[in-house]
Every structure is written in C-alpha cells, then in structure tokens.
Amino acid sequence: MAAGHTVTSFDPCRVRADTPLLTRVVHDRTITYLDSAASSLQPRAVIEAMSRYYELRHANVHRGVYQTANEATAVYEGAREAIARFINAPGGANEIVFTKNATESFNLLAKSWGTANLKPGDVVLVTEMEHHANIVPWFQLRDVAGIEVRFIPVTDDFRLDLSNIDELMKDVKLVSVTAMSNVLGTINPIKELAAIAHRCGALLAVDGAQLVAHEVTDVADLDVDFFIFSAHKMLGPTGIGVFWTREETLNAMPPFLGGGGMIADVRIDGYTPASGPARFEAGTPPIAEAAGLGAAVLYLESLGMANIAEHERGLTADALTRLAFEFEGRVRVIGPGDTVSRGGVISLDVEGVHAHDVAQVLDQFGVCVRPGHHCAKPLMRRFNLSATARASYGPYSLVRDTDVLLEALGHAVTMFG
C-alpha cells in the first residue's frame, strides 16, 4: 500500500465542521447524511477552491500566454499530478485522463481500448455486482463488435464466486470488476483478480468509484491495468471523473471523442490526434472541477486515507451489530454481516416495507438514505429484490448518525407493522 499517512489528528467532528451541508436543517431536524455512496459532501476547502478559481484565475487552458491562462493551466495540470500521487500512478500525471464522470471513463475504456483490442468472440468478464456503468458500455460494444459479456456470479453471502474462475476465464481478454460494491459494500480481492487475469493473458480494469474515498488506493501495488473513478464520491465536485492506465497502454489507445484540444493537426482531409492524456480530452475541460478535485485530494490526504478507512470500519461494525440486534428478523442487511473486506455501505431490506417508503419515512427524520436499484439491476435480480434502502458513511459520519437512522427505521417498521 502507498506511503502510510501518519496523521494522528483525524477527527470526524472536525470534518463535520468543515462540511457546510451538515448544518442544513430539514423537516426541523439537522440533516443526517447517509448517502455518501451516491455522492459525498464537499468540505469548504473544495467549494472555496472552485470559487477562488472563478474569482481569480478563470481562463481557458492550454495555448494561453497571458497570466490567468497560465494559472488556470497550472491549476488543471496540478490536479492531474495530485491524482497521480493519490492513486500512486507509476507513470505520474501523464497517465491521468480527466473525463466527466466514472461512466464516461468506462465508455472511454470500452469504445477506445475495447474497439481497438477486442474482436468477435473475445470475452469481457464482469461481475453480477457491477454498477450499470461497468455493464452497459460492454453491451454496447457487444452489439457492434460481437464480443461476449460474461458475469462472475455472486455467492449467497455476497462475495464473488471464484470457484469456477478457470472456466469463466476462457477467451477472456479483459476482466472488469468493481473494487467495492455500491450496494453490498463488498470489497473484492483485486490483487488476486489481477493475478488471475494476467496469468490468462487478460487485463484487469477496476471500478474504483466506491473505493477511492474510503481506502488507501495504490494502483501500482494492486497491479491493475485500468482504474476508474469520479470526483463527486471523494468529496470533490460534480462534472469530473478519472481514467487511469499505464502510459504505454494509453498511448496505444485510439481517440474517442473528437474536437479541439485532442488533435496535433487538422486538415481539410483528415486529422492527427495528439499524444498523452490530451488525446482523450476533447473540448474545454472541467477546469474549475479540477481545482475542486485537487483540493479534495489535499483534504483527504490531510485526513489520511488509512484513518478514514478505520473510522468507517468502526461505524460499519457498530451499525451491523445494532441492526441485527434491534431489528432481528424485520430488517435484513443485503451485504456481508461483518467488516472483513467490506466498506461502509449498508443496504437494507425491511420486511413488508418498500425501500421507497423506508426512505420517505426516514426523510421526515432528516435522514438521507437512497432507495432503489442503485444502478445495479442484475444484482437486484440475483437477490430477487426490486430495491433496497441504502445507508452509507463518509469521513464526516458519526455513531450519532446511526442512532438517528435506527430511531427513524424503528418508526418505519412500526408504522407499516
């Protein structure tokens, strides 16, 4: 794992004080935000980095000569360096492509790398617990390129079923797996999957959307080939995502979106693409968003990712225990029952109460949880569910949040009882 952060000062109450939205009052109660898996809340440092950018430095990047254009470029490229450091990209900033979100990153992977490297009959192996972002682009590629999309099944105890992996790996050219399920909380054995993929001559793509804000991430140590995530789930802004791959791989990928900024030359009869990350960043990039993302990285680093992971593990353990104890039989956790290889995402199935109704009752207590299929319909079908009510933690979460959750949940159960 990456350089251990020896920060001794991690204090969730300080994070809380840094996060303006947590002072919001809804329905006469201070908000209890338990939806970080959908999107995390931004600390003041991130919001202000963007405001300051607009107030002082905004200009279009690249090609500029004047002062603020240079500063805007420095902000944008600085964020690339911060991200490279944050995930320990072996080749540094040259390996970081900024997209609009994790979903675009997966489309880049499928439509650029996939189109260039996969032929009819080749298999992309995903899992039953993937987010639609790591499923639909492969179906789209299948429809034009004749590849096969195969699924690693999920066991009844919410883990990947690797018992049959050798057979599943037949003809697989790419394994594309989430590091952590946004429904189950399950953390998958990425290093092991990398070894399996590489042994079979396949590459490994990882959906890091749920991991980066909650665990130390080190793509070099994990030995993965592609790593994808979104800023808005790691205390950063909306409108910017990340795509990482090794420099050699990146430079061999054909262009995806075409336009300004991604070209070396355009003539009346054709164009020559640029090299490096620029090739995949057509048009004016998310500059202010990069400023915000850079600030989010600094903020997370100041807290220490290992500290955050430990803190959230504590919260999760406490919640799992209390849910089992207080709602025995009425509330089922759809996900591992302990905190071994598991993050702070807790999906609930409340007997006799639809997830929508659970969330509606909880809202009256100021509790924010997300009902629905969480963009993971194949997983929902696997467990014969149409929806869960999902609570998820962030670095600003406290046991007090769980208290309110349980109080509100009790009310829901009684109401529909």
Binding site: H27, H356, Q364, M380, S386
Partner: protein, 153 residues
C-alpha cells in the same frame, strides 16, 4: 411527523397490506396491460374484463411501494363495475387530484377544486401531492389503466 401521516393515511396502509382485486384474468379474453416506472422499478400489470362498455372485472399484479400498490388497489375498487365512460371520468378526477397546484399567475388551465366526496376512499391519496416525487408512484396504475382503455378503443 404530521406530513408523514398525511401521506400514509390508514386507508392507504390498509390497501397496501391487503390489496384488493389482486390476481390475474385469463387474457384473452381479458386485456392485459403492463406499467413500469423505470426510475424506482415499480411494476404493475392490469387485467381488464370489459363487456358491453362496462368494466366487469379488474385484477392487478405487480410490486412497488405502498403508494403505488395502495393506489392500484384503491383504483381497482373504485372502477370495478363502472361503465367505461365513468372509468375515464374517475381517471380524470384522480389526475386532477394529483396535480400540484401552480402558484404562477400566468398558468393557463385554472385548477378547479376536486370534489373529494365523489372520490370516496380515493381521497386518502390526496396527501401524495405534497410529495411531488411520489406522484408518479400514485399515477402508475392509473396511467396503465388509461392505456388499457385506449387499446380497447
């Protein structure tokens, strides 16, 4: 919690727990229509037995939240045995009940107040309108029914 009690009236919870007219009708001769709310995954299947312009029988299957399920149950009780014309009127009245009153003055269609008494038990759903995201839950079965009638015509 007064808001919540407005939404989840006792009648609604009752219909949610013990849905009326649940089941299937052989189709054909019955008409079968599916409704689906992609946003929240709610599903409803409506079976209609129409004879001589009268909705002789109606059955429903599907799954979803208390609002969508109780609304479909309440709907089935309200329309069963009515003439098609009466059913259409009931649908229109219910749609009106589910319309968020616009405060904007330049709004063209003047919202005429709904006659709640005419709605009977259905009036229990009026609290939904305070929760705009839930309106589509309440409307699902009704839109599906409307679609079924359109197919008849």
């Amino acid at each position: 919690m007064s808001n919540l009690e407005d939404l989840y009236r006792e009648v609604i919870l009752d219909h949610y727990r013990s849905p009326r007219n649940r089941g299937e009708l052989t189709s054909p001769p019955a008409i079968r229509v599916e409704g689906f709310n992609p946003l929240c995954g709610d599903e409803v299947v409506v079976y209609l037995d129409v004879r001589d312009g009268v909705l002789v029988d109606i059955k429903l299957t599907g799954h979803g939240c208390s609002i969508s399920q109780s609304s479909s149950s309440l709907m089935s009780a309200a329309v069963k045995g009515k003439t098609i014309e009466e059913v259409r009127e009931t649908i229109a009245t219910f749609k009106q009940l589910m319309t968020v009153p616009r405060s904007s003055p330049d709004e063209k269609s003047e919202v005429t107040p709904v006659d709640l008494r005419a709605l009977g038990e259905l009036a229990a759903l009026q609290g939904v309108v305070k929760f705009p995201v839930r309106i589509k839950c309440a409307m699902l079965a009704w839109n599906t029914l409307g679609q079924g009638l359109d197919e008849l015509a």
